[in-house]
């Protein structure tokens, strides 16, 4: 027996490892076993082999800026510390001129993507969203607008514009929408959803928006919110559902596991999951999602030190420079608000990978470009 197979044997996953290394697909049942496996180095070794096969030794980051246009939301997701009612203290909404100013500043700083999400706002008209896309496109030409979760799209379709989802997506794209964000997926299992985000769209509804967007030739990312009340089976099932849609459309560019942050929300009795759990989520996601090319270690949620370590456990991307993130920070994330390109590159190099700036489609932009734009 080779040293490698002894490691997997000891971890109790030798059968699964054999299949993964032969490029076979991991079933939901085996996925749940991996999510229960306590031999983190073994999981990491397997995930790293998959990462290497898919992405060599490169690791990417993007120059992006977040704009949370409003935190006013009609939902009451138990895990959320971001949302406010309209007249509640701490509620905000940006006017379009305010957003345009942020976008101009970002463009001057060399940002290539604006990442724009908000709550389900009760009164903003559809023209606000269309106008936002149009004006940002003019204010920051050439900057990719990655905006809206599937949940916001459904909100616009059902309650705001009262038009079918394809029409809403089409109108937003015509106005400048570049790609959809991956948020709002949480955990697909209906029972779990009922406990953490009652009233929110179902799994099928979330998947349906992305399916429609992909059918139109669009690209998006996908996520999983872990570390609250879900079990190993729920995570494995979640990844299998994402994988099935990806088989159908090929439209997901990357997967971003998001650790639940337990401060200032209704699930505050749940402890922030451990570093062990973070790395296991990265590793098992990399192993299971054989058809999604990139796994992002979201440093805002993980913290930069853990995100760096995740590069050895299956992740090949660190997300972006960001600036002014609210959703995770209001839920207790203590990571900084922004990092520089040189810090991200140093973190990647130190982890033994070759850093590359990427575009919103996870395509590598050229070395040297960073200095050219800075």
């Amino acid at each position: 027996m080779t040293a490698e197979s002894q490691v997997f044997e000891r971890a109790g996953i030798r059968d699964i490892a054999g299949r993964v290394l032969a490029s076979e697909r991991v079933s939901a049942g085996d996925g749940a076993r991996l999510f229960r496996c306590r031999d983190l180095p073994a999981l990491g070794m397997l995930a790293d082999a998959v990462r290497r096969r898919m992405n060599d030794d490169r690791a990417t980051y993007i120059r992006n800026r977040y704009i949370n246009y409003s935190n006013i939301c009609i939902l009451d997701c138990q895990f959320c510390a971001f949302a406010r009612r309209r007249r509640e203290p701490g509620a905000w909404e940006y006017t379009l001129p305010e957003m345009v100013e942020l976008a101009r500043k970002a463009a001057r700083e060399g940002v290539t993507e604006l990442h724009i999400v908000g709550g389900l706002h009760p009164t903003l008209p559809f023209d606000y969203y269309l106008g936002m896309m149009r004006e940002l496109r003019v204010a920051a030409p050439g900057v990719h607008l990655k905006a809206f979760t599937a949940i916001e799209i459904r909100h616009m379709a059902e309650r705001v514009a009262k038009r079918p989802i394809p029409e809403v997506l089409e109108a937003l794209r015509d106005a400048g929408l570049g790609s959809l964000t991956g948020g709002g997926a949480e955990i697909f299992d209906a029972g779990v959803r009922d406990r953490i985000c009652r009233g929110k769209e179902t799994a099928e509804e979330w998947l349906g928006v992305h399916r429609e967007w992909h059918r139109m030739g669009g690209r998006s990312t996908c996520t999983m919110l872990y570390g609250h009340v879900e079990m190993a089976e729920h995570r494995a099932d979640h990844l299998c559902r994402l994988r099935a849609l990806q088989d159908e459309t090929g439209g997901f560019t990357g997967f971003i596991p998001l650790p639940f942050q337990p401060e200032d929300n209704e699930l505050a009795h749940v402890r922030r999951c451990s570093g062990f759990e973070d790395l296991r989520a990265i590793a098992v996601s990399r192993i299971m999602l054989d058809n999604v090319r990139h796994v992002t270690a979201y440093w805002v949620g993980l913290g930069l030190p853990m995100a760096q370590v995740a590069l050895g456990f299956g992740a090949d991307d660190l997300h972006g420079t960001i600036m002014e993130e609210h959703i995770f920070h209001m839920a207790g994330a203590d990571s900084p608000q922004a990092v520089t390109v040189s810090l991200l590159e140093r973190v990647i190099r130190e982890a033994g990978k070759v850093p590359f700036e990427r575009d919103s489609h996870y395509g590598v932009l050229s070395e040297g470009r960073a200095t050219a734009v800075a």
Binding site: R173, M216, G218, G251, S360, Y362, G363, R369, A372
Partner: protein, 242 residues
Amino acid sequence: MGIARFGSVSFLNARPLVEGLGETVLDTPAGLVDRMRSGELDAAVLPVVELFARPGYSAVRGAGIFARRDVWSVLLIHECPLREIRRVALDPASRTSAMLVRLILEHHERLHPEYVPENEPADGRLLIGDRALEWQRQHQGRGSLDLGLDWHRRYGMPFVFAVWAIRDGAPDRAGIAEALRAARRAGEARRAEYARDDFELEYLTRVLAYDVADAEIVSVSHFQSVLFNAGLIDEMLELKWI
């Protein structure tokens, strides 16, 4: 199937796509686009960017030309370092390759070169087809950027340069698609006969591939989305595969 009018590319790389089809018009990628637009042909090996530019075609699954990694016959020859290129001469026969050059230079490298006709002085020159293949044979990648490899390095995907596409109004489109797939299968089996030497055989077998399947279809769609977001195409037409 009635008598359909077929058009294919006059390069070595398209030979495996026409085996047994009978009379087939041979032209450059740009020439085939014109012939399809005018209705002269029912089906042609079209540059993929034509699918992004005009509705009215169905692309045929399982019959096209793609590079697994490098492509050898789509090269940007450059006399100075890539980042210093100021003037690029485009091959007038090309469509997809010309768009890919623009994407790389303008979007990925953030350069804004001037594009000039083929015979004008330039420090970068796009070569496609048999002329590019000859360059590759002599220089083995020195002084040129292989556009297939460049795409693969950036996105980790194969790159589809052309596909059999059938005009919407053509009779018995399903029958034509099946005939085109059969031609591809027959052509693939005879690649050793088309190749004049080992270099060409490697080109037709290891470098290029013809059975356009799911991964390649995703890559076409990805290319379209990247072009759209880079502002190089104006709209996102729905791609139809038959």
